[in-house]
C-alpha cells in the first residue's frame, strides 16, 4: 500500500505516561522533515488542530485500554484508518499498568474514595484485544529512531523488518559483560525481544524486559538461573511481572 505524502496521521493516547509520543518528539533533528510528509489530524499534546478527517492514513496508538469510552474511541479510529500501529509496552501488553492484580473495584475505592466506586473501568488491556493491529513498535519507551523508521517505511509502502532474537544476542554482538553470569543480577535479557541494542546491559544495568517476551523464550531455564543466583520466588515474580513476562 503506497501513500502519497503528506500522509494523514493521528496520535491516539489511552492509559499511558505519554512517553511514547514524547519519544517521537525527541527526534528533534527530523521534525522539520516530518512536517513536510505528514498532516496532523489528532495529536492533542502537539497540536490544537483537530482535523475531523473522514479517513486517516495512519493512526499511532499509545497506552492500554481501561474503560468502555476508550474502547469506543479506539473502534472509531480503527474504522477510519488504513493502518493502525500500536506503540509501546502499554499498547502491546498493558505495560506497567497491567501489574495491578486482584479486585480492581477495591483498589479503585481505596485510592479514589467514593468516586472510585462509580467509575466504569476494567483491568488494562492491550490494543489487539479489541482491534486489528497492522504494526507494533515495542519498548517502554521505544527507541526514538524506531518511530521515524516506521513512518518512513509506511510512506514507501512497507514496514521495518526486525530480527526475532533476545537482548542476549545483542550483548554477545557488542561484547558486553554478562550481568547474569558475572554479577548474579536479575537480567531479563535471555527472554526479551531485542532491538534496543542491549541498551541497559550495555551500561551495566540489568534488562527489565521492556520490549516484551521474545517468541519461544525459555522461561523455565531463566527461572532456574535466577533461583541459582539467589533470588527469592517473589523477587522473580515481581521482576517478570513488570512487562508481562510472568507465566
Amino acid at each position: 500500500m503506497k501513500f502519497v505524502p503528506p500522509i494523514k496521521l493521528a496520535w491516539l493516547r489511552f492509559t499511558s505516561c505519554s512517553g511514547c509520543q514524547l519519544t517521537l518528539l525527541n527526534n528533534e533533528d527530523s521534525l522539520a522533515e516530518l512536517a513536510h510528509v505528514v498532516e496532523l489530524h489528532n495529536f492533542p499534546l502537539l497540536s490544537s488542530a483537530c482535523g475531523n478527517a473522514e479517513a486517516l492514513d495512519v493512526a499511532l496508538v499509545e497506552g492500554s485500554l481501561t474503560s468502555p469510552g476508550e474502547v469506543e474511541r479506539l473502534l472509531a479510529i480503527r474504522r477510519k484508518s488504513r493502518l493502525l500501529v500500536a506503540v509501546g509496552a502499554c499498547a502491546l501488553t498493558g505495560g506497567v499498568n497491567a501489574m495491578v492484580k486482584g479486585e480492581r473495584h477495591k483498589a479503585m475505592v481505596s485510592i479514589y474514595g467514593k468516586a472510585g466506586a462509580e467509575w466504569d473501568t476494567f483491568p488494562p488491556q492491550p490494543i489487539h484485544h479489541f482491534v486489528k493491529v497492522d504494526g507494533q513498535i515495542p519498548g517502554c519507551p521505544p527507541e526514538p529512531h524506531e518511530l521515524l523508521q516506521a513512518i518512513a517505511a509506511i510512506l514507501h509502502g512497507g514496514w521495518p523488518s526486525h530480527q526475532v532474537m533476545p537482548v542476549c544476542m545483542e550483548c554477545r554482538i557488542n561484547e558486553n559483560r554478562c550481568l547474569l553470569e558475572e554479577d548474579c543480577a536479575p537480567c531479563l535479557g535471555p527472554i526479551t525481544q531485542a532491538g534496543c541494542d542491549a541498551l541497559c546491559p550495555g551500561l551495566g544495568v540489568p534488562c527489565e524486559g521492556c520490549r516484551g517476551v521474545v517468541p519461544e523464550a525459555n522461561r523455565d531455564e531463566l527461572y532456574r538461573l535466577f533461583i541459582t543466583a539467589g533470588l527469592s520466588e517473589q523477587e522473580i515474580r515481581h521482576r517478570l511481572e513488570r512487562f508481562g513476562a510472568a507465566l
Binding site: 493516547r13 489511552f14 492509559t15 499511558s16 505516561c17 505519554s18 512517553g19 511514547c20 514524547l22 519519544t23 518528539l25 525527541n26 528533534e28 533533528d29 521534525l31 522539520a32 512536517a35 513536510h36 505528514v38 495529536f43 492533542p44 502537539l46 497540536s47 490544537s48 488542530a49 483537530c50 481501561t66 476508550e70 505495560g95 506497567v96 499498568n97 501489574m99 495491578v100 492484580k101 486482584g102 479486585e103 480492581r104 477495591k106 483498589a107 479503585m108 481505596s110 485510592i111 479514589y112 474514595g113 467514593k114 468516586a115 467509575w119 473501568t121 488494562p124 517502554c140 519507551p141 526514538p144 541498551l199 541497559c200 551500561l203 551495566g204 544495568v205 523477587e235 515481581h238 513488570r242
Partner: protein, 427 residues
C-alpha cells in the same frame, strides 16, 4: 445559563477539561477537571520491595520521569538514612538539569510558541521556517542529550539506582557535552532576548496564589529539606501534609490542596518570586503578563540551568574514575522518608513508609499540577470576568491553563495509601 466546554485541552500533557458557566453573558463559574484514566500506581507500589519502586514510579509521567525517579530514590534513601556518594549526587543533579532544560524547551517552543505566532502547532512553524522554532528544538535536544548521558535513556532513565548510580558516563561524552554547552552559553543571551520580545500574551490580571517552593537555601537548587511559602515562611519538607492538607474531590481525578495558607502556586514563577536574594536573580519581566509570566520565568531558569550544568561538568570532568558510585546497604531497614524536589513545573513530594524488610507499606505523592489546580480555575475567573466573546473565552482559558505547564498524568497519581491491609490482595 450557557456552558462552554474546552475538551480536550490541547498542547498540555495529559487529558484535562475546562468548563465555563455564563449567566446573562457573564462568566460566573469555572471548573478545571483533570481526567486521566486510573493507573493505580498507589496500589502497585504498596507491598513491593522499595528498591524496585523508583523504576515503576517513573512510569507515572514521561516528561518528569527523571524527577520522579530521583525523588523516589531520595525519599527511600532518607527513610533508611542512606547517604549517597557525592559523585552519584552530582550525576543525578546533572540528569535533573537536563530534564529541566528539556521540559522548559518543550513547553516554551512546542506548546507556547505556536500561540505567540498564532499557529496550531510547531509543525506549522517548522514548515514556515520560523528560526526560533528549530533553535528551540535544538535546545530541547541538548537537554535530552544531557539526560541521555547522565541517565542512560532519555525517558525512564536507568542510571539512578538505590544507593547512588549504576555507572559513570564516559569522559569523552562529558567533554563533548562541555563543548556544546559553551556554544549554548554564548548564544543564550541573544536567543532568549528574541524569545522575550515576543509578547503576544492575552491581557492578564495579577497572579493568584501563595507561592511555594523548595530548594531556596543560600544558593538556589532543585532540592531541599524545607518548603518556603508566602512571605518567607519556612517549614520542614517532612511536614508538608499539614501545609497542603490534600483531600480527594468528587469532580476531578486529582486530590485538592485545601490547606489554610493556600491556594498555592507552584512552578517557575513561584520560584522566581521566592528567589529574591538567592543566586538566581528575579526576572522583573515576569511580572508584566500575569500568569503568562510563568513562561518568562522559565526562560530565565533555562539560563540558570545552563550555568549550573557548566559548574557540574567542571567537577565531573575532574572526578577520578575510581570514586565510589553507590552506597551499599548490608541489610534493608525500616523507616519513614520524604523528599522534596522542584520538578520543571513545580514542587513534587514523595513520601514512603517502609517496614524493616524493605517493603513499602504506605506511599504519598504530591504533584505540582494537583497543587495548582485551585489557582488555575481562580485565575481563569479573574482574567476573563469581563470577556463576553465565546471564542475568545475558550481560547484564553486554554492559554491560561497552558501557562501553568500542567502535567495531568502526574496529577492524578497522588492519593495516599495508608491502609496496606486493604491492598495486600492486589499483589
Amino acid at each position: 445559563m450557557i456552558r462552554l466546554v474546552v475538551d480536550p485541552l490541547t498542547r498540555v500533557e495529559g487529558h484535562g477539561r475546562v468548563e465555563l458557566q455564563l449567566r446573562d453573558g457573564k462568566l460566573v463559574d469555572v471548573t478545571v477537571r483533570l481526567l486521566e484514566a486510573p493507573r493505580l500506581f498507589e496500589a502497585l507500589v504498596v507491598g513491593r520491595r522499595c528498591d524496585e519502586v523508583p523504576d515503576l514510579i517513573s512510569r507515572i509521567c514521561a516528561i518528569c520521569s527523571a524527577t520522579h525517579k530521583v525523588t523516589a530514590l531520595q525519599a527511600i534513601e532518607n527513610a533508611m538514612a542512606v547517604k549517597i556518594p557525592p559523585l552519584a549526587a552530582a550525576y543525578r543533579e546533572l540528569l535533573l538539569l537536563g530534564g529541566h532544560i528539556q521540559s522548559h524547551a518543550l513547553h516554551l517552543f512546542c506548546l507556547i510558541l505556536p500561540d505567540l505566532y498564532g499557529t496550531p502547532d510547531i509543525i506549522e512553524l517548522l514548515r514556515q521556517k520560523v528560526p526560533l522554532a528549530q533553535a528551540g528544538l535544538d535546545l530541547k535536544a541538548f537537554g535530552n542529550r544531557i539526560q541521555k548521558i547522565a541517565g542512560g535513556r532519555v525517558i525512564h532513565p536507568v542510571n539512578p539506582v538505590f544507593g547512588g548510580i549504576a555507572y559513570q558516563p564516559g569522559h569523552d561524552e562529558l567533554e563533548k557535552l562541555a563543548k556544546e554547552l559553551l556554544c549554548w552559553q554564548r548564544d543564550w543571551p541573544d536567543f532568549s532576548a528574541r524569545l522575550l520580545q515576543l509578547d503576544n500574551y492575552p491581557e492578564a490580571s495579577p497572579v493568584i496564589g501563595t507561592a511555594v517552593a523548595t530548594g531556596l537555601q543560600d544558593e538556589f537548587a532543585l532540592t531541599g529539606d524545607c518548603l518556603w511559602y508566602g512571605n518567607d515562611n519556612v517549614i520542614a519538607a517532612s511536614d508538608y501534609a499539614q501545609l497542603f492538607a490534600e483531600r480527594p474531590r468528587p469532580d476531578t481525578h486529582a486530590k485538592d490542596a485545601t490547606g489554610k495558607a493556600g491556594p498555592f502556586l507552584t512552578g517557575a514563577l513561584a520560584r522566581d518570586r521566592l528567589a529574591t536574594g538567592r543566586n538566581i536573580s528575579r526576572n522583573a519581566l515576569a511580572d508584566h503578563h500575569g500568569i503568562h509570566g510563568n513562561n518568562l520565568a522559565q526562560v530565565k531558569e533555562v539560563g540558570w540551568a545552563l550555568h549550573r550544568v557548566g559548574q557540574l561538568l567542571e567537577t565531573l570532568l575532574r572526578a577520578s574514575r575510581s570514586e565510589p558510585l553507590r552506597t551499599d546497604l548490608a541489610q534493608m531497614q525500616g523507616g519513614i522518608g520524604t523528599a522534596a524536589m522542584e520538578a520543571p513545573r513545580g514542587l513534587l513530594l514523595h513520601h514512603y513508609v517502609i517496614d524493616e524488610w524493605g517493603t513499602i507499606v504506605a506511599a504519598d505523592i504530591v504533584t505540582p499540577t494537583a497543587l495548582n489546580q485551585r489557582v488555575i480555575a481562580a485565575q481563569i475567573m479573574a482574567d476573563l470576568t469581563d470577556e463576553k466573546d465565546h471564542a475568545r473565552l475558550r481560547e484564553v482559558a486554554e492559554r491560561i491553563v497552558r501557562a501553568y505547564d500542567p502535567c495531568i498524568s502526574c496529577a492524578v497519581h497522588l492519593v495516599t495509601v495508608e491502609n496496606p491491609s486493604s491492598l495486600s490482595d492486589y499483589q
